[in-house]
C-alpha cells in the first residue's frame, strides 16, 4: 500500500513540475487590419502573409493556450462594422475563454490602438462608471 501511495505522490509531483502549457507569441509585422487566413495552422498570418493585430486575436481565439501579442510602435487602426462578436471586423473580440491573452505594446506613448468607430467607453456589467 505504501508503494502505491509513493507512486501516486511521485506522479503528482511529476505533473506539478512538468513544463508549463504551450504559450503562443505573436509579433506584429503589419499595422493593417486583416484577419487570419487559416486559424487551423496555428500561425498568425493573413492572406498576404503578415501578422496583424486582428489575425493574432483570431489565432489566439483558436488556440488552446495562453497567447502574447507583441505590438511594435505604431498606430493599429481597426476598421469595419462593430456589429458582430466573432472578431470579423471593427472591435476586437477576445474569445479564448480560460486562457490568458496579453496585448503588449512598446509603450503607451508610441503604440496606439485606434478605430474608425465613432465612440469609445469602458463598459462592464459590474463597473458602472466609465474611464
Amino acid at each position: 500500500m505504501r508503494r502505491i501511495g509513493a507512486v501516486v505522490v511521485a506522479a503528482m509531483l511529476g505533473l506539478a513540475l512538468a513544463a508549463p502549457a504551450h504559450a503562443a507569441t505573436f509579433n506584429m509585422d503589419s499595422t493593417a487590419d486583416e484577419p487570419d487566413a487559416n486559424t487551423g495552422l496555428a500561425a498568425c498570418a493573413t492572406a498576404a502573409g503578415d501578422c496583424t493585430l486582428r489575425a493574432a486575436i483570431d489565432q489566439a481565439n483558436a488556440d488552446s493556450s495562453d497567447s502574447t501579442i507583441n505590438l511594435a510602435s505604431g498606430t493599429y487602426t481597426l476598421t469595419g462594422a462593430n456589429d458582430e462578436d466573432s472578431n470579423a471586423s471593427g472591435d476586437l473580440d477576445v474569445l479564448s475563454r480560460g486562457f490568458q491573452v496579453t496585448i503588449a505594446g512598446a509603450g503607451a506613448r508610441t503604440t496606439v490602438m485606434a478605430s474608425t468607430a465613432s465612440s469609445t467607453c469602458w463598459c462592464a456589467p459590474s463597473w458602472p462608471s466609465a474611464v
Binding site: L71, L78, N82, D83, E84, D85, G90, D91, L92, D93, V94, L95, S96, R97, G98, F99, Q100, V101, T102, I103, A104, G105, A106, G107, A108, R109, T111, V112, M113, A114, S115, T116, A117, S118, S119, T120, C121, W122, C123, A124, P125, S126, W127, P128, S129, A130, V131
Partner: protein, 55 residues
C-alpha cells in the same frame, strides 16, 4: 472589444472609438460576466474614451 477570456493590456494607448460593446450600439470594452475566468488587466497603458456608458 468583447472579452471572454483573461486579457492583459500593457504599454498601449487605446483611443478614438476602439471598440464596441456587446450590444453593438456603442464603443467600449465589454466584459462578459458569464465566465468567472474573465479578467482584464491594464498596465502602463492609456485608454481614452469619447463618452461614458453604463450599459
Amino acid at each position: 472589444m468583447l472579452v471572454r477570456s483573461k486579457l492583459a493590456v500593457r504599454g498601449v494607448t487605446i483611443t478614438g472609438g476602439l471598440a464596441n460593446d456587446d450590444l453593438s450600439d456603442g464603443g467600449g470594452i465589454y466584459m462578459d460576466g458569464a465566465s468567472t475566468e474573465t479578467a482584464l488587466t491594464v498596465v502602463d497603458s492609456t485608454i481614452r474614451g469619447t463618452g461614458p456608458r453604463t450599459s
